[in-house]
Structure formats: C-alpha cells, structure tokens
C-alpha cells in the first residue's frame, strides 16, 4: 500500500491468501483509495464463492494462478486487454458487464452482510444487506424501497462494498428476488411510459402495517390477508381476488373435515408447487395465504409456517 501511495500505478495484482493480510482487505482498501486503479486477484483457489466475493468487491479480474506456458500467455493477454480498456466505459466500475442487479444478487447469494455504497456524480446511495437479505437503502432523503428503486434505476456509477452494519434498522421486508423483480418491472413500465431509459422517480408499492411482520419471515415472497368478507390486504400477489376465494374455500373445507373427524384445530395448510409454494392459516376470523420460496423443502416450509403462525398471533 505504501508503494501505491508513492507513485501512480495502473494495475494491482494481488494474491487472496497471504500470511499477514487478507487479499480481500487489500483489494477493498486499494479500490477505496485509488478508484482508477485496475485490480486483479490471482489465486490458487478455484472456489465459486471466492470468485463471487472477489467480483463483488469490485475487482476487474479474478483468475487462478497460471501453471503452464499457455496459461501464462493467456494471462498476459488478459492483463494487456485490461490495461487498454477505456476507463470511462459504461457500467459499474470493476464489473463493467454487470448491472446493479448482478451486484445485489452476488451479495445476497453469498449470504453476505455488507453495505453497497453506490455513487453517481454527486449522488451517493447505500444499500444495506444482512445475511443475504436487503434490509434498507438510503438515497438523500429517501429510505427503504423507494431509495432502493431510485438507485436501481441508475444506469452507471461507481460502487464500493463496505462492511455490514448490524445496528441498521430494517425497513425493507421483500425478499431480494421479489425486490429486484419489482424494481426491474417498475423500471420497464417507467421507461415504456416515458419512452426513455432515464432515472425517473419510481413509486414503491406500499405494504400495510399488518403485513409487515409476516413479510419478515424468511422465504416469504408475497402475502394475502383476508380480514373479513370481501376485505383483504395483499402484497406481491398478482391476482388477489382469485386467490382470496381459493384460500377461503380450501381453509373452510379442511376446517370442516377436521371438525367432523375431531382432529383438533387446523394449524396450517402447506402446498408445494413448481411455480410457488404457499402456506395457509386462519386465526381470529382472519385468513392468511403466504407465498414462500418454492425451493424450500417440506421441513423448511413447516418452519416458515410456524414462524408465520407466531407473527399471525396463532401460537
């Protein structure tokens, strides 16, 4: 690092596993202090998670150590290509072919806790990720989903990944998948309406207060709460009226079966599907349908059901 400060350099090549300092720390520090410096991680580790983490930290190239003359030649060509690239090309610095969507996905899939600091001109936005979930975002006076969607609409910028903040208050309850999907969809609609690919303000969908604690349950992607005859609140459900009828019918029929058999209270109904999985339950005259991550196995689905029951006041 002292050498980097002594004179301007174009390229930093670093190992990831070193005796006294973690290569990721070197990369993060160098990226922070010398934003135009090209960075290459060279390692003996072919691990996918390392690769994802390295790219998420903003490096330009991750490569395994070349071990043959051919690999050395290819490596040299990569470095030459990297050094001749224009430094003002579009995209987020460090991952020029990747979008902000890719960045968020990499961090969330790696189950990381981090803060994405994204700048565009004088604007600075931040996205907080905890344990693989997007929990908050901030852009000037905007917070939560509104801020996330505004940042998401940026086409270019610089980013930096800084350590996570465990004390950050959670304001976002969507899973990162549905958040990205919503953001992309709203961006498409906004572009279609304006006929431009601009950074227009996007209005975030609002979630009712009653649904917020239910949305914190891991894996929950959409919710439908039937509060009375013909009354419902939903979040992320495409056709709530139809699913309200289905939920009510299924719960009523199985409740009746349970009463006839004297099988005790109906705790929940779980349905596993190829498009989505759902958990249904009723309590105090209210009926709930929660769509959960379809990749959940039966045990995790049961766990999500129990957690939902707790938040629903059923247990």
């Amino acid at each position: 690092m002292a050498l980097l400060e002594s004179e301007p350099f174009s390229l930093l090549i670093t190992d990831l596993r070193m005796p006294k300092i973690d290569g990721f720390q070197v990369l993060l520090s160098a990226r922070r202090r010398f934003p135009t410096l090209k960075t290459v991680a060279i390692t003996a580790l072919g691990d996918q998670q390392y690769r994802a983490r390295a790219y998420a930290s903003g490096i330009d190239l991750y490569t395994e150590k070349p071990t043959s003359p051919t690999e050395i030649r290819l490596f040299s060509e990569c470095i030459e290509a990297l050094l001749t690239q224009g430094i003002h090309a579009a995209g987020f610095r460090g991952i020029q072919s990747k979008s902000l969507m890719d960045l968020v996905q990499i961090e969330c899939l790696s189950q990381n806790s981090s803060v994405l600091r994204i700048t565009r001109g004088s604007l600075e936005g931040r996205v907080w990720i905890r344990g693989g979930s997007v929990i908050d975002a901030e852009l000037q006076e905007l917070r939560g989903e509104e801020a996330f969607k505004q940042i998401f609409a940026w086409k270019t910028g610089h980013f930096e990944i800084i350590p996570g903040d465990n004390n950050r208050e959670r304001t976002i309850y969507h899973s990162y998948e549905s958040l990205l999907l919503d953001s992309a969809q709203m961006l498409d609609e906004s572009n279609a309406a304006t006929g431009a690919g601009g950074d227009g303000m996007l209005e975030a969908p609002r979630m009712s207060r009653a649904l917020q604690p239910l949305a914190t349950v891991r894996g929950v992607e959409a919710l439908l709460l039937l509060t009375g005859p013909g009354k419902s609140e939903s979040w992320g459900v495409e056709n709530p009226e139809e699913f309200a009828g289905w939920t009510h019918r299924v719960l009523r029929e199985f409740d009746q079966i349970g009463r006839t058999l004297n099988a005790g209270p109906l705790r929940s109904i779980e349905a596993v599907g190829t498009v989505r999985s759902v958990v249904l339950m009723a309590h105090n005259g209210q009926e709930l349908m929660a769509c959960v991550d379809r990749r959940m196995n039966a045990r995790h689905l049961r766990g999500a059901g129990k957690e939902l029951a707790t938040h629903f006041g059923k247990e």
Binding site: F254, A271, V272, G273, A298
Partner: protein, 91 residues
C-alpha cells in the same frame, strides 16, 4: 358451542394411505375400515378441488398438507388424482 358440554376426547387416528381418482372416488386404500369412508371421500374431494382450482389459477401444486393438532393429511398430485397419506399426531 355449549360451554357446559364436555370436550371431546382426542381421537386416535389410524395411519395409512389411499388413492383417489380425479372425481374424488376412492381407488385403493390401506386405511382400516374404522376410518369413516365418507370422510375419506370428503378429504379426497377437498384435495382434488384444492389442486384443480389452484392449477386453474396458474399455480399447480404437487403436494398439499393439512396440519391438524391430531392428524396430518398429506396429498400428492397424481396427474388428476391424488395419493393421500393419513398420519396421526400427538396432541
């Protein structure tokens, strides 16, 4: 509900499975005869109805489980029909 009436004693349910056709009719069963047949049919019809209407809404389910305090009913879609597993639970 009469508050003076005695609560019903928990029922001991048998364990077994049976298959139902698309119309809810029972095809074959390993449940003992003590398990009321009309209830087996009611469960079958509820399962088929739930799976069919969900499919019509564009959300096909391959498995559906109703979790009661004393009984679990788990059904798997069988191309229109279903296999239904009945499992007692402690409560």
């Amino acid at each position: 509900m009469n508050p003076l009436s005695k609560p019903k004693a928990p029922v001991r349910f048998p364990r077994g499975s049976y298959t139902v056709a698309a119309d809810g009719g029972i095809v074959v069963s390993t449940l003992p005869r003590s398990f009321p047949r009309e209830q087996m049919e009611a469960i079958g019809k509820a399962v088929i109805s739930a799976l069919t209407t969900a499919r019509e809404l564009g959300t096909p389910f391959k498995e559906l489980a109703a979790d009661f305090a004393g009984l679990e009913i788990r059904a798997r879609d069988l191309a229109g029909g279903a296999i239904i597993f009945v499992t007692p639970q402690e409560y």
